[in-house]
Symmetry: C2
Subunit: 330 residues, 2 copies
């Protein structure tokens, strides 16, 4: 592999000049520029990104930290992040924490010694001290989806509470009399907000008490189990609002095994709008997050922070859409 010194020698100039040509900085005579460009072409020279990174403390890479890449929500988002990153000459480091705090910490530590130019973080495991650490290192940061209660970073979420309300109201409208909720991971803010949306609608109903809320994780397996618990605790259940689509898919399966007909005996609403929710049988009514858009936005905001040093935190709270499908079409 040719280095900048090879190019300089071949073109009969100094390495500084070559560097200037490559980066379009400073002033260069036209002929000099052409000579250098020819030498670059002849030697098929490409700058070594590691050396460049060491010198400018940049890597042209951003880290995308996700809790579980196997939840389809995240690949959809990752795709958007990656699209914008690529268009702007950045690479995306995939960091999957598997919902484990130790892994998150590992990543935060190792990323800071790698000149990662920015981080998009999506993890409920994050704590204020971690953010502080990244901030003190000056690493641009965008938080997504699962964010902390309050913070002074750019963050992107959706109107979770409103979405929860929309979902639950819809169940009421289609005639459900006993509506349960399966909440996602206990300590995530988005799950909590969705639950409050549910409570906004049902808390004044005479039958309601907290036993109608089941606690799950954001997974099919967990949704399946908790749905079954709810069925045996409340046989009269006729509607469930699930904190995400994976849980809804689990509930669907539980209902099928329990012999409950969907939507007539049990109506189900999910949240997220992952592609899979369209594709199940029956398809699942859901509250759609603008997943791709969120990923794009996150990456664009991160780029702004990186390239414009524009560091005032912005908090985005995007709208969600109600999507009617078979699981509530009575």
């Amino acid at each position: 592999m040719a280095t900048i010194r090879d190019v300089a020698k071949k073109a009969g100039v100094s390495i500084a000049t070559v560097s200037r040509v490559i980066n379009n900085k400073g002033t260069i005579r036209k002929e000099t520029k052409e000579t250098v460009q020819q030498a670059i072409k002849d030697l098929a020279y490409t700058p070594n990104m590691v050396a460049r990174g060491l010198s400018n403390r940049r890597s042209y890479a951003v880290a995308l930290i996700v809790p579980t890449i196997t939840n389809p929500f995240f690949p959809e988002m990752a795709r958007a992040v990656e699209d914008i990153a690529r268009e702007n000459g950045y690479n995306v480091l995939l960091c999957n924490t598997d919902d484990r705090r130790d892994r998150l910490i590992d990543y935060i530590d190792s990323l800071s010694s790698q000149y990662v130019d920015g981080i998009i973080i999506n993890s409920h495991n994050i704590m204020r001290e971690d953010l502080q650490k990244l901030k003190s290192l000056g690493i641009p940061l965008v938080m997504m989806d699962r964010v902390l209660q309050d913070h002074d970073f750019t963050s992107i979420t959706v109107k979770n509470r409103e979405g929860g309300r929309m979902a639950t109201e819809h169940l009421v409208e289609v005639g459900c009399k006993r509506i349960a909720h399966i909440s996602g991971l206990e300590d995530t803010l988005n799950a909590t907000h969705r639950m409050w949306g549910y409570r906004d609608v049902v808390s004044n109903m005479p039958w309601f008490d907290p036993s109608w809320i089941g606690m799950a994780e954001f997974s099919v397996q967990s949704g399946y189990q908790v749905a079954k618990e709810l069925f045996s605790r409340h046989p009269e259940i006729d509607g469930i609002f699930c904190s995400n689509d994976l849980i809804a898919i689990g509930a669907l399966k539980a209902a099928y095994e329990w012999g409950k007909k969907i939507p007539n005996e049990l109506a189900i609403v999910g949240f997220d709008g992952i592609d899979m929710s369209r594709l199940t049988v029956p398809s699942i009514t859901t509250i759609q997050q603008p997943i791709y858009h969120m990923g794009q936005l996150a990456m664009k905001e991160l780029l702004k922070q990186i390239e414009e040093r524009n560091n005032e935190p912005k908090k985005f709270e995007l709208n969600v859409d109600f999507v009617l499908r078979e699981s509530t079409m009575r």
Copy 2:
């Protein structure tokens, strides 16, 4: 951020000694070692990976090129790759080509500027000349799943033909009389092999002709459409072997809309064993690939090539497992 020189100064030794302590190389007196380790701890020093990379001619990053990150097969694999990478101090660059050759080429070009230590590539769009380019640059490479016909690189696939045979034989065993096949992307070798497995079983049957084979892409949408075409072309159809699970999910949905009862009127077998195939209603009988294991293996083999300069190509052809589920449980 503390540098190695800070540590050296604090411990009262030279930077060479610190480096030796960090990397466990050469000979160091026990007390010296302890002093240095204490200084490292005091300063919360972590070696700068970029500087280290420049010296070692490494970036400690590998690229994972996938065709469509939204097909759950790939996140499952990515998770495995990432697990092994992380354990060994490497980062994973996510490269999603969206099944487009222009993006693949972009990636190959940009990655070849000494940006990554190795590439795991999973794309049917790759051509011999691309591989040659990477080879001439000396970048370690592992091909996965969708590989070229013949090549001299390490590759990891499964016994696709045998899997196709197993799937089709199973449909015969449960009593299917007219078995169709929905094949995946036309020019991928794995789809072709699965189709040949199907043909091995049915080609001598009196009813068989090529109109029983539908060509789809590896997606739910495409499986759905092609299944409907098959239903109208061959109303007597009572079994389908689908080239992957996404296609099978599409077929499931088509059957549901068409009013065909599964499994009694139509039995369906998929391929891959993505998590989702367990979770549909009904669950889908499938040919399970060892997805996680394949990802691990790919990354381990890549590491061998990177760190041991062990470059003789190995071709792995892993076993698949038959998994019985509801979609064929008559």
